[in-house]
């Protein structure tokens, strides 16, 4: 029970740090527009390594909070995250046995798909086509930063998962 609380506590802490990274102002012109999608990294990573029946609901909830906080159309991030979670989860068995490079490439595809979906949804919602350039740069940055972010995530995951009593 205590372990479970600890796990959820740590997961929430990591989520909050990622969330803060996606919200705090960088005070450098245009850096905010091309901000990497940190939350998508968490959704992708946890879907592969810690998939649970609650994952889609969690992805939905995270998306909804981001929508409300950043004044996006309600449900837009939620939709994108659930779709990304769904797609990743369908490829989970394949991805688990692969090298990190393949996982990384998988994230690149998911991030690009998520960006494109968001761009299309936004155009539909506002009935106006916007430049896709900032979104593309943001996806590129996310892909480059993915290994850096996954390292601490993976260490935290190992620290929690290496419980002798649950070892096979």
């Amino acid at each position: 029970m205590l372990r479970m609380v600890g796990r959820w506590g740590l997961a929430l802490l990591v989520l909050f740090i990622l969330f803060a990274l996606s919200a705090v102002p960088f005070e450098v012109p245009h850096l905010g527009e091309i901000r990497p999608v940190f939350m998508l990294m968490a959704v992708y990573y946890w879907t592969i390594l810690r998939s649970s029946p609650l994952s889609p609901l969690l992805a939905f909830a995270i998306g909804l909070v981001i929508d409300l906080l950043s004044a996006y159309p309600l449900g837009m991030h939620a939709l994108v995250f659930v779709a990304a979670q769904w797609l990743t989860s369908s490829q989970r068995k394949f991805l688990l046995g692969q090298s990190f490079l393949v996982i990384w490439a998988g994230f690149a595809l998911i991030a690009l798909g998520a960006g494109a979906l968001q761009w299309a949804l936004f155009a539909l919602f506002n009935a106006e086509l916007l430049s896709a350039k900032p979104m593309l740069v943001s996806v590129l940055l996310s892909v480059f930063l993915f290994p850096l972010l996954v390292l601490p995530l993976s260490l935290a995951h190992k620290a929690l998962a290496d419980d002798p009593s649950s070892m096979p």
Partner: protein
């Protein structure tokens, strides 16, 4: 990194007979992604149709998360300042000389400003002009600009307890950067003038032509609803008109940088991207009532 054995899902690890009873709560929460996607689409449609109290929901989330974001953004902000401090230490000497020269120039400006103020005052008395209502300012740090690629808005850790009201103008440095669209107890959202949904009633300063300044999700703003023969001159300043009563008149916004077949474009005076501090401009209702100054009709009904 991903080499160790994956954890089985909760459902897989349980013996079959205990699954139904013990896992009921989890089963209930186990919503199919397709249902969630449908729910998200429904939310978007309802939001578009304006049938959801999205504003109130946003204010609730904003007010809840604002203290945490304030706590997180403060150290980051000082870190950035320190890094900037280190890089500028080399240029300190040159900067000092430049500032001294600028100071001499500013002293001259100060003298002439005082002279003009006195002159203005005496003219006002001669003409018996009622002064505009006094403006009050609330200075605030920016605690979040989570808008990303498609939405231009920032959060401030000031709210109704600081007398910030919906519709207040928000300035940074030299010009208008946005206006308050949602106010909580301890937080407020600023819709920046570059956002796709931003429309500001403005006046072209030299000709007093009225127009609407529209955000286009990019650095430049577009002048819309211009009369056909408005005689646009590049470099002319654009200020708020005060029409609609939401913003005070004559707040500077930007200058015209191009005019042609693709419309008339305006560059804001202040950089809108990467804001660190802003000022919320409020017409001080109490003071205007006390001194009996003219209050714009639109402000009469406000609290």
């Amino acid at each position: 990194m991903f080499s160790h054995r994956p954890q089985n899902t909760v459902l897989e690890t349980l013996p079959l007979k205990t699954t139904t009873m013990q896992m009921m709560p989890v089963m209930l929460l186990r919503v199919a992604p397709a249902v969630l996607i449908l729910l998200a689409v429904t939310l978007m449609v309802l939001h578009r149709a304006d049938t959801l109290p999205v504003g109130r929901l946003r204010v609730a989330v904003m007010d809840t998360i604002a203290p945490a974001l304030t706590a997180v953004s403060a150290p980051l902000s000082s870190l950035i300042e320190q890094i900037e401090g280190v890089t500028t230490i080399r240029d300190l000497k040159a900067e000092n000389i430049r500032l001294k020269e600028e100071n001499i120039k500013l002293q001259q400006w100060y003298e002439s400003a005082l002279r003009l103020q006195a002159e203005n005052q005496s003219f006002r008395e001669l003409l018996n002009v009622k002064a505009d209502p006094a403006l009050s300012f609330v200075t605030s740090r920016v605690i979040s600009d989570a808008g990303g690629s498609f939405v231009k808005s920032v959060l401030l850790p000031v709210g109704s307890r600081d007398k910030v009201q919906k519709g207040n103008a928000v300035m940074s440095g030299h010009g208008l950067v946005g206006r308050i669209t949602e106010v909580g107890q301890q937080s407020a959202r600023v819709l920046l003038i570059t956002d796709l949904n931003s429309r500001i009633p403005v006046i072209i300063q030299n000709t007093r032509t009225k127009a609407i300044l529209a955000g286009k999700n990019q650095d430049l703003l577009k002048l819309e609803r211009l009369p056909a023969d408005s005689g646009i001159i590049i470099g002319t300043r654009i200020v708020t008109s005060g029409d609609g009563g939401q913003l005070p008149p004559d707040l500077p916004i930007g200058t015209i940088v191009s005019a042609g077949n693709e419309g008339v474009w305006v560059r804001p005076l202040s950089g809108i991207s990467g804001l660190a501090h802003v000022q919320v401009v409020n017409i001080d209702i109490d003071q205007t009532l006390a001194t009996g100054e003219i209050i714009p009709p639109s402000f009469k009904n406000k609290k």
